[in-house]
């Protein structure tokens, strides 16, 4: 197990460095002088020189990259061009909101997805099954931002049950969590269903039935435990899709998380802020995948031997 963990972590490190490098190259070949972007069009030419010097923009790209990475490891992601604040601080401030939203969305995904998948499998090829699976496909095909707008119109404006946007209490997170979690709930439901159906074909299920166990005990005691293995790991991997969706959800519901900051950074053309938020988000995704891998290895000993 120890070797397995070390191996997996060692695989993730080069990926993370590659991500940072590609991001750095993409954002540092942007046309337009960073100083002009930062200070506006009407800056004096000699000041541009001073700032180029101060920001050490004339060093070779790889040197600047190394300096950036060294800083990022200490939590220093540079200073935002437009807000004139440390990017690290802005990330630390917005990150809790994104985490909160993602956790609520994941709860929605689990609490709806697993029972729906279980139910669909038990009642497979009935009307209920089809309805659940149709609903889950709908969740995947629904544009997140549009679903959010519709819910705002219906529940906030027409029915006045929930606040339109904001992030002050749990009530404010109900709509965003449902909008964001729906797609993941669909994935979880489909996976639970197909795994359960697969497991139910096994010999040990037949044995369990043969020894006279009740069908409900067979499903919950024997089948579900095995079927949940891949589902548990997919939840860790869904960090990626939740973060991608969080960008949209946050901009609609006005939650000042990482996604909203990234979108603002783009519209303000604020490179360090954009770079910091995207790098941080992607690092989260890589960490999520790593955890998924380790979890899988922990739950299923066969995976560890490779």
């Amino acid at each position: 197990m120890g070797r397995f963990i070390v191996n997996r972590i060692l695989i993730s490190v080069p990926v993370l460095i590659g991500v940072a490098l590609i991001l750095f190259l993409l954002l540092n070949v942007v046309p337009g002088d960073p100083v002009t972007v930062m200070m506006g069009e009407h800056i004096k030419p000699n000041l541009i020189e001073v700032f180029r010097e101060r920001m050490r923009l004339d060093d070779p790209v790889l040197v600047r990259f190394a300096r950036y990475i060294a800083g990022a490891l200490r939590g220093d992601f540079g200073i935002s061009y437009k807000l004139n604040r440390e990017v690290g601080g802005l990330i630390a401030q917005s990150f809790p909101h994104t985490i909160k939203l993602s956790v609520y969305a994941a709860l929605v995904a689990w609490l709806i997805g697993i029972p729906a998948g279980l139910f669909s499998a038990v009642k497979s090829n009935t009307l209920i099954d089809r309805a659940f699976m149709g609903f889950s496909l709908l969740g995947v095909s629904l544009p997140v931002f549009w679903a959010g707008l519709l819910m705002q119109y219906l529940f906030a404006y027409k029915l006045r049950w929930l606040p339109v946007n904001g992030y002050y209490s749990l009530k404010y997170f109900i709509m965003p969590a449902i909008v964001l979690g729906w797609g993941s709930a669909g994935t979880v439901a489909r996976l639970t269903r197909s795994n359960l159906l697969e497991i139910m074909k096994n010999d040990f299920i037949r044995t369990a039935r043969a020894k006279g166990l009740k069908e409900s005990a067979v499903v919950t005691g024997h089948a579900l435990k095995n079927a949940m293995l891949p589902v548990v790991t997919i939840m860790a991997m869904q960090v990626a899709s939740l973060l991608g969706g969080a960008v949209m959800t946050e901009s609609i519901f006005g939650i000042p998380g990482l996604g909203l900051i990234a979108v603002r950074a783009i519209s303000m053309r604020d490179m360090p802020l954009l770079q910091g938020t995207i790098l941080f988000s992607t690092a989260l995704v890589i960490a999520g995948n790593l955890i998924a891998d380790l979890l899988y290895g922990f739950l299923d000993p066969r995976i560890r031997v490779e």
Binding site: S124, G134, L149
Partner: protein, 306 residues
């Protein structure tokens, strides 16, 4: 709760495959499998019909409509849906239905072109990595790992930021984002095909590697490529509408469904149909592609079902 024999059939919404169906598949051409699938799977056939109708409508729209999608007619601002204007008029009195169909052109283009481009890149890299192995394989796959580590929407945001926004940068951004998945699948398939007797036979009589790849391996990847193609399109359309909604995608005067939702969300409370219609269009189009893709996947390889 009970698991009956019929309760164990593979997936909801798709027909049950009988044993002889599956055996028959092994000898049939791709085209014959298509015909067979559409006869068996009405949902996929209907989805294909919907897609064709939307595409035809979008291609021929200047021929049959009296309205100009971009010409304001201020007397008809916010006209509700009526026989003259099927989906009403927008804030400048432009016919919403006609604008939806013009928006379909962008969505179709975005769905098809970057997907095609990314498939070509992904297939080429996957073939090289899978066939030659070694260091080419190593570097291509590490690059794919890195690309796949990014949440795709965030990476697309960064790329289109670098390229300055607009339709062209969306093309590139979406191609950059989605080649890696294709490369992985094709690489795996190439590696297994490389060991097959017919490839070994070709190699033993001295056929050059590039001929083996194009004559013997690529044609065997075609079923997979068709499935990947159909299932990649909805993702591309979805990402485009998200990017346009965030303001980093299509820019006026060109219309896209995402851009329309972005524009009309201001009027959501007073004229909700304006923002609802384009979202519905995205939903129908994406759902149709998802159904079609699922159907094709089941037809190409009944064993591979989720």
């Amino acid at each position: 709760m009970s698991f009956t024999e019929e309760g164990l059939s593979p997936a909801a919404g798709v027909p049950n495959f009988e044993e002889d169906d599956i055996e028959r598949l092994d000898d049939e051409s791709v085209f014959a499998r298509f015909l067979w699938m559409f006869r068996k799977n009405k949902l996929a056939a209907f989805s294909l019909l919907v897609i064709c109708v939307i595409m035809l409508a979008a291609l021929t729209v200047p021929l049959y409509t009296p309205y100009d999608p971009n010409k304001p007619s201020l007397g008809e601002r916010f006209a509700p849906p009526s026989p003259a204007h099927w989906a009403g008029c927008d804030d400048l009195g432009r016919d919403q239905f006609v604008r939806l169909i013009y928006g379909a052109r962008i969505s179709i283009m975005i769905g098809l072109l970057p997907t095609t481009l990314s498939m070509i890149i992904g297939t080429a890299l996957g073939l090289v990595a899978g066939y030659f192995g070694g260091s080419a394989d190593f570097w291509i796959m590490r690059l794919a790992d890195i690309v796949l580590a990014f949440p795709s929407l965030l990476l697309a945001m960064v790329v289109s930021y670098t390229l300055g926004g607009g339709i062209m940068s969306i093309f590139v951004a979406l191609s950059v984002v989605s080649w890696a998945g294709t490369a992985r699948v094709i690489r795996a398939q190439t590696m297994s095909l490389r060991e097959k007797e017919f490839v070994e036979a070709a190699r033993s009589i001295g056929v050059r590697p590039c001929v083996i790849i194009f004559r013997h391996i690529l044609p065997n990847c075609v079923p997979n490529l068709i499935v990947l193609f159909t299932l990649n399109i909805p993702g591309a359309i979805m990402n485009e509408s998200s990017l346009s909604f965030l303001g980093v995608g299509a820019a006026p005067p060109s219309t896209s469904w995402g851009l329309m939702i972005f524009r009309y969300k201001t009027y959501l409370m007073s004229y909700p149909w304006l923002a609802i219609a384009p979202g519905l269009a995205i939903l129908v189009f994406v759902l149709a592609f998802n159904f079609l893709g699922d159907g094709i996947r089941d037809a190409m390889d009944p064993y591979m079902k989720d």
